[in-house]
Chain length 383, copies 4
């Protein structure tokens, strides 16, 4: 029986708060949900800033050790897969070190703080026998995957327009404290790297490469409390909103928006594709749904956008979880993404094109930097 001979993958993780919790959840969940995945994870080591915090997490999740120095994890010879959920300024160092040691990589987005750093990271893995994946996990939402399948099958024709947006209200309140995300030195950029990168990746995933971009950015709240409730203010040196327009290599035109200043939006990543024969709409706040319009033949007069609950057995990842109509949450694509990487590590298929590789992470960084340059210079920038 396959279970008896199930291979074990030794895993190390950097970071344990924030998005790391979704990666940790995926590690725990994959073995029992994805029946057909012949793998077992050995959770070797985890690194985090707070000694007591990381010790607590290690116990909870069953890691063999928790440490504050990421080097200990990266250099642990037992670890085969490194999941890097550290802040942006701790992406390149650990990933390059781990790659040099032949470890597989799953790195949070954005890959680097800028195009140069992302390029170095891509260079650090491209000729090594390691699987490398950037956590653009929204590619693994069933409705997003379904959108890709519909587009690739030509169901909506040739794409003419593609709108991209990722907005929330996390930065709307000026008393929300400063974090490393408001610091260029650590984060690289503001909402462009943090939010736009996600939806730009979906643009590349669904439509293709970008050719030209233009736009505007702004720092709406220039100073924030150094910590919650503090009087001391720290300056914000990255944008908290960006609006732009884009031209794809295919000639398709679109808009791009990222902002933390949109009251009422909580996790509002939306895209909309208009093709010559139909349209698609998606909203991360209702991530189980895809809206589909088909230019039906004239004999059918009931033309309109369909709200498709992408949970049926013949939908992407259908049947892996619950019955039709029993919706998934925000965390589930992380499980799918991890499953995909593990399959690649086991030699069952490649990371690309369904997942984002470090090459995609680098391409993404180029678009982000083009956006920022366009905003700064007032010129249309060729990507």
């Amino acid at each position: 029986m396959p279970i008896r001979t199930m291979p074990t993958l030794n895993v190390g993780v950097l970071g344990y708060a924030g998005v790391a919790r979704a990666h940790l959840n995926a590690l725990k969940k994959l073995p029992y949900i994805f029946w057909s995945t012949p793998v077992r994870f050995r959770l070797v080591g985890i690194a985090g800033r707070s000694p007591s915090g990381v010790e607590d997490v290690a116990r909870r999740y069953g890691f063999e050790y928790g440490v504050t120095d990421w080097r200990r994890v990266v250099e642990d010879p037992q670890i085969e897969l490194l999941i890097n959920c550290a802040p942006n300024d701790t992406h390149a160092g650990p990933c390059l070190a781990a790659a040099a040691l032949g470890k597989h990589l799953l790195c949070e987005k954005p890959l680097g703080r800028d195009t140069g750093e992302a390029r170095r990271m891509w260079d650090g893995v491209r000729r090594r026998p390691v699987c490398h994946q950037v956590s653009f996990n929204y590619r693994f939402i069933p409705a997003v995957r379904f959108a890709r399948e519909l587009i690739q099958a030509g169901e909506i024709g040739e794409i003419v327009h593609f709108r991209m947006r990722y907005t929330d209200d996390s930065l709307s309140d000026p008393s929300t404290p400063h974090t490393w995300r408001q610091e260029r030195r650590r984060a690289g950029s503001g909402v462009v790297g943090d939010l736009a990168s996600h939806v730009l990746d979906l643009g590349r995933f669904l439509v293709g490469e970008f050719r030209n971009v233009c736009g505007f950015s702004r720092i709406v709240v220039p100073r924030r409390p150094a910590r919650p409730g503090a009087r001391r203010m720290k300056p914000v040196d990255v944008e908290d909103c960006f609006v732009g327009a884009v031209e794809f290599a295919t000639g398709a035109l679109g808009t791009l928006e990222a902002s933390g200043c949109c009251p009422g939006q909580k996790n509002f990543l939306t895209f909309e594709a208009n093709g010559t024969r139909g349209s698609l709409r998606f909203n991360l706040e209702r991530l189980n749904e895809l809206e589909v319009f088909r230019a039906e033949p004239p004999v059918r007069r009931d033309r309109g956008f369909k709200t498709v609950l992408v949970t049926d057995a013949d939908h992407p990842y259908g049947g892996r979880w619950w019955p039709s109509g029993h919706i998934l949450g925000w965390e589930h694509p992380f499980v799918h993404q991890l499953h995909h990487l593990v399959q690649a590590i086991l030699g069952n298929g490649a990371v690309a094109p369904l997942a984002a590789t470090f090459a995609d992470g680098y391409a993404n960084a180029r678009v982000c930097d083009a956006m920022l340059l366009a905003a700064r210079t007032g010129r249309r920038i060729r990507v």
Copy 2:
């Protein structure tokens, strides 16, 4: 540190397919997600119909053994908590046996196949020192809990109307095969016990006891293939749809619907409350959302239903999972429900009123049977 002294709860489970997977998931997930829950589960035994199936599940989830005879699990002296996800005709026997042995119980709904059986089950636990809970897990959806909090705080005034509906299209296709759910002997009833029971429980949870009911039921598809693709047909002797009207003890009036014959509905449990000062609407297919209308003072002219994404830190279960706007799936209330039961077992609070006890399961059965009697006799039935 509390973790070192974390108590262990020994668990046995009946059933491993269907809804059992959501309970198993909750067992795996609770320890690492609910940081503050000082408990560790020892997964002792699981019982299921297929020898190879149950063995496979036992390995996957880490049970010490898997068996085909539920008695082995029920009588295992090590097991402290029994989670019963077996078909309806295997609810009473195992639960009564386990209760007699002093085991805590989490039983799937409906509690029994009819009022009599539910009453015996309630009698079997009421004077024993065991925690007993019926898996009316939708009480643990954050938006449902939020609805209860708003109602109890008087935010929408006195309830005048309450509409209940649980419909899907699972029985719409006549070629969908027969299962035990189409057999009165095993299931007790059709969509009334399977679907209506859920939303009737929410009626009791949110509004209170029922006083009178009336309605109609029907068997739309009277025979189904004995198994997938089979020529041989088996008769259906339970209703596949029910429509009715209800009067609550408070005088509030409402409607009640359950049907498997609604094309396009997948998991369409909805309720709507109209009070003297506002209204609420909920739909399980968008379970993160609650629609709220408040009769605002005249100075505010922006009157309308709000779509509240119930994922903020100050919402029920807010902050336990992901950031605001990062939605939960259908499985999450099972985790909350298990957490609640474990707290009761550990002596931190009671099962009632937030979870459904066997007393609630019995009360629920009375309403379901009143519905069926009303449909059969054409009379208004007092619950």
Copy 3:
């Protein structure tokens, strides 16, 4: 040219406020919007309660005279068509008198205050050479007509369920003053005649005859101020809410609700049909839209409810008004309805089955009275 020989129809109207304004608007609008309708209206006389009010209206709309005594209009030998928008207790008298004089009739709903009165009105016209129409104008909403066409073409299969609802918040505030609608003597019934009658008519229009009904009614606010702001209270002796369940002659099951106590609902007439092959949903607050679900063949995975904006050139009444997507308002079905009646008067087609005749008004009254009787007696009532 047809225009030169355009026939003239002499019209009299009873009532000028409330819904009468929609009928008056239709009289003004039909001649110039419906290019192809060869008719001109001569607005002869109008009757209303207030002498100055009716005089003002007469001048505004171009009536030759305005009077307070409806007999003067009914007996005017010039008048060929009587539009009766008076309160319910002034439906039978004028209509019977006018019919006896051979006048065509358009009467507001409900036809009579009860089955008996409706029957007398139907008897008064059935053997006379007059066109008679009850203003169940929602039949003339393009989306409703489209629903009928889809159902009749079998696009959603055989109807299994039909839900009907007409609710608003007009009676929710106890300080809303008493009107004739709260008085059984004048209105006949409360929300059953006023609201339920509309949606029950759509049930008959779309599905067919009712066989059995059951339900509950209630008077939530038993006394209301005699007039706005008054201290003196008048008793309410008709129901302000009704909930019930219905069985159609075809075996289809449904729910029926009418209430003035639903905060946040303004003009919330909704219906939903579930057939063996698809579903339809409609909401009067978005009357240009019809939601359509088709059980698509398996090859199409984008299953879901379509929101159809029923404004295309090949939709009912498409091309009569504005371009596709340029929505109509609540008043437009009145124009369609008048156009339909005028065509019948001119001998171009019959009033039935697309419009409601007095026979439909009588059938409607029977259902309404069955509802009220069911609520009063607690029995299932055969219609």
Copy 4:
């Protein structure tokens, strides 16, 4: 009584098809719907291309004459108000001639074919004692007016973002024939002048002046059949889509889109405002609704977008038409707009700021031309 002394306004109209029908409807409807408006229209003359068509229209609507030469109408000394619904290349000539003769003007949008022409038109009226209004009629949608009132009262704080979009699928099908709108010489521009102008006007109405713009345009379908079904193709020399980003003088950032290539969109003018304290959303396909989010004080946990049905008595134009919840259609703002102009002509208030004057038409043309220049040059353009 005021009615006896009701003033009469002599009106001439250019054009009778397309949008002209909405203006003609407003002329018929205003006198009887707006009770309080003391005016009567004398419909003197109308001009249109087809002799039989214009004669027919003249009879239908009650004009004293119909002609094919617009000069006859413009120069008719009896006419006091000229409504110009002719194609774009017939805006400047008739308007300037009429203004020189002291006639009041209501001109369809865009005012001129480019900034220069719009400027000449503005110069032609600015020092003359005539009322001049451009038909940016969407300002007169109750929900749009309500949005303005909320913004001006500071209810959503300072505007940070404003998104503008007007898209449809009217140009998506390459077999849709060529019209004057596809010809630069006659139309001036494509979707920028036709669609973007409308939503840019709302941007100025709701937020204020534009400072900078950038973007892309494209001709997706470069040739179209010369007439319906024709083999002969005519070249399209204006854009059929535009995407861009904008910066307002206040610093607010936004996006702007206009396209005829969006399958499933029919009349999809949308805007969204994000302020420091709330957000607003609007969609012309549901023009009776305004979505409103308020950053509520923490004590209220039911945060979310409200769907406000802007039909209550205390809403803009509330009580003028039908009861609350009885929706208006696309045509109604034309009535409001005409009412506003007539009031200005009668000396009751000014055209600006609630309606668009020729000064607004000129300012609008400057933004449109900046958009087109930005798209052509790839530079950010200062308006």
